[in-house]
C-alpha cells in the first residue's frame, strides 16, 4: 500500500520539480525585466540630463566705457542697469572678427553669445565700478546651440547634417551655420572656450533660453506647496485617525466614514483639482497659480493616505499598553497622548512621508488650478505665483528648443533625488523607531 503511494509520488516528482523551477524562473525573469527597464530609464535620463549641469563660456574682450555703454561711470545703479550692455558685447564680438560686415552675418555672430550675458555683464559692471573705461576679458555664457557642440566636444570641422549630408551619421546636428562653426573653432583654438560646472540650473527660474533656464522657482514652489500640504494634512489626518481608532463608537456612521475614506484614497487626483478650482478659486477667490491653493488641494489628496496609515499604526500598538495606562489611572486623552501616540508615531510619520512624496510628484490636480505657468521670478511667499517640479518637467518637455531635452532630464533627476531622499527617510525612521511586540 505504502509502496504504491511512494511509487505514485516518485512518478510525479520530476514534473513537480519542473513546475517549481518554471515558477521560480518566471519570478526571476519578471524581476530581471523590471530591473532592466528601470536601468534603461534611469540610464537614459542620467545620460541626457548630465550636460545640463555644465555650461560653456566664451572669453571676450569687452570695452566698458561711455562710447560702448552710452552712460558715464558714475551714474546710479538703476541707470547703469539700463545701459547698452548688449551693444558693448556686440561691438566686442565685431572687434574680434573684423571681417564680418554683412548685417545677417553680424546677427549670426552675436547669436553665439547667450542673450542673458548682458544682464550678467550689467551686474559685473555695477559691482566693479573701478573697471569703467577699461577693456576687460570676461567669460560670457554661450548660446544653447554653441554650448551643445562645445560641451560634448564635437569636431567643428565636420559637415552639418543637412542637404547632401542628411544621412551622414557622423555629421553635426546643429542649427548653427558653417560661418558660426568657424567662429566657434577660432574661439576654441585660442583657448577662449571653457566648459564649467554650472550652478545656473539651480539658481535661476524658468527661461525661454535653455542655457539660462533653471529649476529654482519650481523647487521653491514645490517646497511651499509641500509645506502647506504637511501643515494641513498631518494634524487633521492624525486627529481623524485617533478619533476613529481610539474614541469613536463602532456603528453604522463610523463604518460609513471609513468606507468613504478608503474610497477617497482611490479617487483620481484630477478630481481634487476640479474641486480646488470650484471651491478655492471660484468660490473662496483664492489666487490662481498659488502654492497655498496647490497645497490645500494636495492635502485633500494625501489626507486619506495618511489617515489610513495612521490608523494602521495606532492599531499596531498592543491593547496591553492602553490597559496598563488606564489601570494606573490615566484618562482616555492621557492614554492616547502619553502612551499610544508616541508609540505609533514612527508608523504615522512613515505614512506621512510617503503621502507627501506622492504629492510631490503630482501634476494633474495642479493643471486645474493654474500652476502650469511660466515662472521666472522665485516665489517669495505661499501666495506668489509659482509652479512645481513635475509641472516644470512637463513644460520643458513641450518646448521647441532642443537644448531643453537635457534640462527636462536634469529636472527629472532632481525630482527623483527628492523622492529617493523622502522614501529613504521613511525607511530609516521605521528602522530606527519601530518597536515589535
Amino acid at each position: 500500500m505504502s509502496d504504491e503511494t511512494t511509487q505514485r509520488v516518485r512518478a510525479t516528482l520530476k514534473k513537480r520539480y519542473l513546475k517549481e523551477k518554471l515558477f521560480r524562473g518566471f519570478g526571476i525573469t519578471a524581476i530581471a525585466a523590471s530591473l532592466g527597464f528601470l536601468v534603461i530609464l534611469l540610464g537614459s535620463i542620467i545620460y541626457k540630463g548630465m550636460p545640463a549641469f555644465q555650461a560653456t563660456y566664451l572669453k571676450v574682450d569687452i570695452t566698458l566705457n561711455e562710447d560702448t555703454l552710452g552712460v558715464g561711470g558714475t551714474v546710479s545703479d538703476a541707470e547703469m542697469q539700463g545701459a547698452n550692455f548688449s551693444g558693448a558685447i556686440k561691438s566686442a564680438m565685431r572687434d574680434r572678427f573684423p571681417d564680418v560686415k554683412k548685417r545677417k552675418a553680424k546677427k549670426n555672430l552675436y547669436a553665439l553669445v547667450s542673450s542673458g550675458a548682458e544682464y550678467a555683464l550689467a551686474e559685473y559692471m555695477i559691482n566693479n565700478r573701478e573697471q569703467f573705461g577699461q577693456t576687460v576679458s570676461l567669460w560670457l555664457l554661450a548660446d544653447d546651440e554653441a554650448d551643445a557642440l562645445i560641451k560634448r566636444n564635437k569636431d567643428l570641422s565636420k559637415p552639418i547634417r543637412r542637404g547632401e549630408f542628411k544621412n551622414d551619421s557622423s555629421a553635426l546636428v546643429t542649427r548653427l551655420n558653417k560661418d558660426q562653426l568657424g567662429w566657434l573653432q577660432s574661439f576654441k583654438d585660442a583657448g577662449d572656450t571653457d566648459v564649467r560646472i554650472s550652478s545656473t540650473f539651480f539658481t535661476n527660474g524658468n527661461s525661454r533660453e535653455p542655457e539660462q533656464a533653471g529649476i529654482r522657482a519650481a523647487l521653491v514652489g514645490s517646497a511651499y506647496t509641500l509645506l502647506i500640504t504637511f501643515a494641513l494634512s498631518f494634524p487633521i489626518a492624525v486627529a481623524a485617525a485617533i478619533y476613529l481608532e481610539e474614541f469613536a463608537p463602532q456603528n453604522r456612521w463610523t463604518d460609513l466614514v471609513e468606507v468613504n475614506i478608503n474610497n477617497l484614497a482611490a479617487v483620481p487626483s484630477i478630481v481634487f483639482g476640479l474641486l480646488g478650482l470650484a471651491v478655492f478659486i471660484n468660490y473662496l477667490q483664492l489666487p490662481r497659480s498659488a502654492p497655498v491653493v496647490g497645497g490645500v488641494v494636495l492635502s485633500l489628496m494625501t489626507l486619506p493616505t495618511i489617515i489610513i496609515s495612521s490608523r494602521a499604526a495606532l492599531k499596531a500598538v498592543p491593547p496591553s499598553i492602553r490597559e496598563a495606562a488606564r489601570g494606573l489611572g490615566a484618562s482616555p486623552v492621557q492614554v492616547v497622548t502619553h502612551h499610544v501616540l508616541p508609540l505609533a508615531m514612527p508608523g504615522i510619520l512613515t505614512g506621512t512621508i510617503i503621502g507627501l512624496a506622492q504629492a510631490l510628484g503630482e501634476t494633474a490636480p495642479l493643471l486645474m488650478i493654474g500652476m502650469v505657468a511660466f515662472i521666472v521670478d522665485i516665489p517669495g511667499s505661499v501666495t506668489d505665483p509659482s509652479t512645481v517640479l513635475p509641472v516644470q518637467v512637463f513644460l520643458w518637455a513641450d518646448a521647441p528648443e532642443r537644448a531643453f531635452t537635457e534640462r527636462t532630464s536634469a529636472a527629472i533627476m532632481v525630482l527623483l533625488a527628492f523622492l529617493i531622499v523622502m522614501n529613504l527617510a521613511a525607511v530609516l525612521l521605521r528602522k530606527k523607531f519601530e518597536r515589535r511586540w
Binding site: 538703476a78 539700463g82 546677427k107 547669436a111 542673450s115 542673458g116 544682464y119 552639418i160 547634417r161 543637412r162 542628411k166 544621412n167 546636428v173 546643429t174 542649427r175 527660474g205 527661461s207 525661454r208 533660453e209 502647506i228 501643515a231 494641513l232 498631518f234 494634524p235 487633521i236 486627529a239 473662496l284 477667490q285 483664492l286 489666487p287 490662481r288 497659480s289 498659488a290 497655498v292 490645500v296 497622548t337 493654474g370 502650469v372 505657468a373 511660466f374 515662472i375 521666472v376 521670478d377 511667499s381 505661499v382 501666495t383 505665483p385 513644460l395 518637455a397 513641450d398 518646448a399 521647441p400 528648443e401 532642443r402
Partner: protein
C-alpha cells in the same frame, strides 16, 4: 495638538487677506501656441525693467478667453493670448461681465507645418490632396456629386504624381487649437475645390462643416497628442509618415523634418509672411484696458511687445519662429495700441 491645528487655519486666513491686496505682476493666460512667444517677451520685460516678470499660464485660447471675460478685478487675468480672433459670443460674454474695454493686439502669424522625415522624398501637395487623404467622407472617385467613405489608402491613389506610400499622418487631437486651425485652413481650403461641396456652404452650413472638418478615424490619421516634439520624433523614426505641427518646431528641427510643398510653397519664413503658404493663422492677445493703471506695467509690457526689436522682421520673436506682420500693419497696430484703442464689437462669422 491645538497649536498644530491653529497653524493651517492662520495660513488660510493669511492667504485670504492677501488676495484683497493689489497684484504687482501681470497675469497672462491663454493659447499654448502664443505661449512660447509671449514668454520670451515676458522674460525680457522682467529682466530689463523694474517690474516683476508677468505670470503666463498656458490654458488654450478658449479657456483663456473664458477666464479673461469672467470679470474685472485683480483676481482675473489682465491679458489673454489667442491663436484665433475673439468670437462674437465671447465678446458679448466679456461685455456682460463688465469687461467693456478690450484692446486687441494682432502680433503676427504662425505657420502650421505639414512635414515628413528628411530621409524620405519631399511631398508636393495641393490642399485638395490633403482633404482627400484625411477627410472622413470624400467625393465619389467615379466623379459623381456624392460622398463616400474615404477609400484611399495610398497617396498615389489620390494623385498619380505622389509616391505609392501608405497614407499615415500624425497630428494633434481635437482639443488642440492647431487641429482647429488645420481643419479650417487646410481641410476646408481643400474641400472647396469640389463645387458641389462648396455649394453646401450657402445651402447647409452645418453639413458643409461636417464634411470639410471631420477627419477620418480608420487609422490613416493618427492622433499623436499635444506634444509637437513627440510628433517630430515619430516622424524621424517612421519616414513614411507625415506630421502636422507648429512652424517653430519645424524651424528648430529642420535637420530632421522637411516641410511639404503645399500649392508650390514650403512652410518657410518668407512664404508664410507673404501669405503664399496657405496654412497659417493669426496670433492675437487681448488686454483689459480697465486694468491699465491698476496693475503696474501693462502699458510697458505692450510697449515691449510692439517694439521693432521684438516683433519686427529682425526682432527676437522672429528668431523664435513667429512670422511678423508686414511693416504697414505693424505701424498701424503699434499706433492703435499706444493710444490704447479698444474693440468696438465683433461681427458674427
Amino acid at each position: 495638538m491645538v497649536k498644530h491645528l491653529l497653524l493651517p487655519a492662520s495660513l488660510l486666513a493669511l492667504s485670504v487677506s492677501s488676495v484683497a491686496q493689489a497684484r504687482d505682476y501681470i497675469n497672462v493666460v491663454g493659447s499654448s501656441t502664443v505661449y512660447p512667444f509671449a514668454t520670451v517677451v515676458a522674460e525680457k520685460f522682467g529682466k530689463s525693467t523694474a517690474f516683476n516678470t508677468p505670470k503666463i499660464e498656458s490654458t488654450g485660447s478658449g479657456g483663456g478667453l473664458k477666464l479673461f471675460c469672467a470679470g474685472i478685478g485683480v483676481d482675473t487675468p489682465d491679458i489673454t493670448n489667442s491663436s484665433r480672433r475673439i468670437k462674437a459670443s465671447e465678446f458679448e460674454q466679456c461685455q456682460e461681465n463688465g469687461v467693456s474695454d478690450v484692446i486687441e493686439v494682432l502680433i503676427g502669424f504662425d505657420g502650421i507645418a505639414f512635414a515628413n522625415s528628411v530621409d524620405a522624398d519631399q511631398f508636393e501637395l495641393e490642399l485638395k490632396d490633403i482633404f482627400l487623404a484625411l477627410a472622413e467622407q470624400v467625393p465619389n472617385p467615379d466623379g459623381s456629386d456624392s460622398l463616400v467613405e474615404n477609400p484611399y489608402t495610398l497617396w498615389s491613389e489620390i494623385n498619380p504624381d505622389l509616391p505609392a506610400v501608405k497614407i499615415e499622418v500624425l497630428g494633434p487631437p481635437p482639443t488642440s487649437g492647431t487641429r482647429d486651425a488645420f481643419a479650417e485652413l487646410a481641410m476646408e481650403g481643400g474641400c472647396q475645390a469640389f463645387d458641389f461641396i462648396k455649394k453646401m456652404k450657402s445651402d447647409d452650413k452645418n453639413q458643409f462643416k461636417a464634411v470639410c472638418h471631420t477627419m477620418r478615424e480608420d487609422g490613416a490619421y493618427v492622433e499623436a497628442g499635444e506634444n509637437d516634439n513627440l510628433i517630430v520624433q515619430k516622424l524621424q523614426a517612421n519616414s513614411d509618415a507625415l506630421g502636422i505641427f507648429g512652424f517653430s518646431f519645424l524651424e528648430q528641427n529642420d535637420d530632421i523634418v522637411q516641410s511639404s510643398l503645399i500649392g508650390g510653397f514650403e512652410a518657410e519664413f518668407d512664404a508664410i509672411a507673404e501669405g503664399d503658404y496657405p496654412i497659417s493663422r493669426p496670433l492675437y492677445f487681448y488686454v483689459k484696458k480697465q486694468h491699465v493703471g491698476t496693475v503696474p506695467g501693462i502699458e510697458e509690457y505692450l510697449a515691449e511687445f510692439t517694439k521693432e526689436g521684438t516683433w519686427g522682421e529682425d526682432g527676437y520673436l522672429a528668431d523664435k519662429g513667429m512670422i511678423p506682420l508686414n511693416e504697414e500693419l505693424r505701424e498701424e497696430t503699434g499706433a492703435a495700441i499706444a493710444a490704447l484703442e479698444t474693440l468696438e464689437g465683433i461681427e458674427e462669422e
